[in-house]
Symmetry: C2
Subunit: 344 residues, 2 copies
């Protein structure tokens, strides 16, 4: 295997084309005045030499990197990588590359990310992570340097240029209406304690009940510790064992619903024949058997919006005021729900 000795630079290209580096630069960079023929010569020389542009050098000179950093909590979770895809697809289109990093919710990794973020002179920050103190401080730093920050389904409790959130209230309102119309006015809810998003989801349910002038029975609300399948399993199992026989359960997270499915299986309760199940998130809901009727978040679209907002700011069309955008959630009916004629 032969290895190219020396890096080909603009100078080499210019030499071969018989022009100056300035002209070569203008030809390759598509700017300034260059004679058509000259340009053609330069392009040919570059191709002949197998020249690869050095964007490091360009970056040093122009102080631009066309790079956006995206921080997410867990790279193996499709919920976040779908956001990442939305961001990248949009950013690439606009000539930006995006560096994806995850911090596994560990602040030492968050610190490492920001070190890299600043050292590599990234031009914008998008994050989908929950609150932590390092993030808060770093977002402040970032903004102070004039670099825009967008929270995309991330925490609301730090400084940012723009924020994208889910219209959780609207989504759960739809789900509630569906359950009600399907004959399950007394469905159970599994929500997470001390979770602000769970709280907002709950407001969606309350809103519906308010509108129809009924009261929600607090006995049907189950509060669990976190969004894990284990919590869903334990909560459901307890209900089943106590013989409460719910006809429908609404979970505020997909993993919770997966736990409920397992509990139902254990107790020989058939979904959807004996129990209707509704979930939120829609990450693998469609792949399960039965597939789960879900409130679906437009994560890919959210990523695109985030990229759009940040590039808009990077390119200077920045409005002073920060924006908060709430993206609508869809409600998708699948196999895990049925119609209940009895209405109990």
């Amino acid at each position: 295997m032969k290895i190219d000795k020396k890096n080909i630079t603009l100078k080499d290209v210019a030499l071969r084309a018989g022009v100056s580096v300035a002209t070569a630069s203008r030809s390759l960079g598509n700017y300034g005045y260059v004679d058509k023929e000259t340009k053609k010569k330069v392009l040919k020389a570059a191709k002949d030499l197998n020249y690869h542009f050095n964007s490091i050098a360009k970056g040093l000179r122009t102080k631009r990197t066309h790079t956006i950093g995206f921080l997410l909590p867990d790279i193996t979770n499709p919920f976040y990588t779908r956001i990442a895809k939305g961001i990248q697809d949009y950013a690439y289109e606009k000539g930006y590359s995006v560096v994806i990093a995850y911090d596994d919710s560990m602040s030492n990794k968050t610190i490492k990310f920001f070190e890299m973020f600043f050292q590599d002179r990234m031009e914008g920050l998008i994050f989908s992570t929950p609150y932590n103190e390092v993030l808060e401080e770093m977002c402040r730093n970032t903004l102070k340097k004039g670099i825009p920050v967008v929270s995309c389904y991330g925490t609301k409790k730090v400084r940012f240029s723009d924020l994208i959130q889910s219209d959780a209230i609207g989504g759960c309102y739809k789900a509630t209406k569906f359950l009600f119309d399907s004959g399950f006015p007394n469905f159970f809810v599994i929500k997470v304690k001390d979770s602000s998003i769970s709280q907002r989801r709950f407001e969606g349910i309350e809103k519906f009940y308010e509108e129809i002038g009924k009261k929600l029975n607090k006995d049907f609300v189950l509060e669990v510790k976190d969004y894990s399948d284990r919590c869903g399993y334990e909560a459901a199992k307890e209900v089943f064992i106590l013989g409460k026989k719910p006809t429908a359960i609404f979970c505020f997270g997909e993993q919770l619903a997966i736990g409920v499915m397992r509990a139902a299986k254990d107790c020989n309760i058939s979904i959807p024949d004996e129990l209707s199940l509704v979930s939120v998130d829609d990450v693998i809901a469609s792949q399960l058997t039965p597939s789960i009727t879900s409130v679906s978040l437009p994560v890919y679209h959210a990523g695109q919006v985030a990229a759009n907002l940040i590039i808009e700011r990077i390119e200077g069309k920045k409005r002073i005021k920060s924006r908060e955008i709430y993206l609508e959630e869809r409600f998708i009916i699948r196999e895990s729900t049925s119609y209940n004629r009895l209405g109990n």
Copy 2:
């Protein structure tokens, strides 16, 4: 919001610390001879000024970027992002950052990636993508420039420095033995036509049969077009409708197995009571109900190995010969399989 006017450079730090840029550089870079006290002064000055090192400039000067590119087909698939995580975790430890890109199996995106790869002067390439012509050409280019290339569960049909593959034969051997010992000597297989990995998996089955001196009944081998859940569904459904009543099915891909579960549900066949199901990949197998007994690939570990190999080469401990590493697959017994006393 106040915005920092000017970028703080090494010069500023040196000025404030009352030393030369060289000394400042030595202090911040931890190399060469620097007096302890001097170093302390420089560090303080840097902190005071909120100095952020400019790795673009460093890169230009040293011609090193400490960056590895990782190309995968689909960023929303946890199979690949677990590899990515393995790579990043290892690389970060060694002071490298990794740029993750996906090409959605579209060669124009592959081209874009390599443009970026060369322009940004990345020092190593890892890919998990299947064969395509652009990839082949670009890998050749990359190697010619002296940049190492590692295929991590990617195609074997291009030039590379090192290759990591799965011991598909061994994994399927284990699964076959399990099915046999569980009383299912006549299980059905769903494999994919024209897939080299499916072919190797099949060899694992044949190997077992050879050892016990029996012949595999070809009637039990189902060949489908691709690895989609749809193909799994259709193949299984047809078998069920024909009344063949298999007692066990072994799928060479998780999505195939998901399709089989759906078909079984449709036909009122209970898993595992009436049908045992074994799968390969282990991406969401543990989250399904019932959870699927699976051949599990050590993807995270594979990523770490890939990162290790490439960094070894980048740092010059390169052996001439290219290596091929086959990583063992585990076999995990879950709920989708039972024991068959009848043995038919």
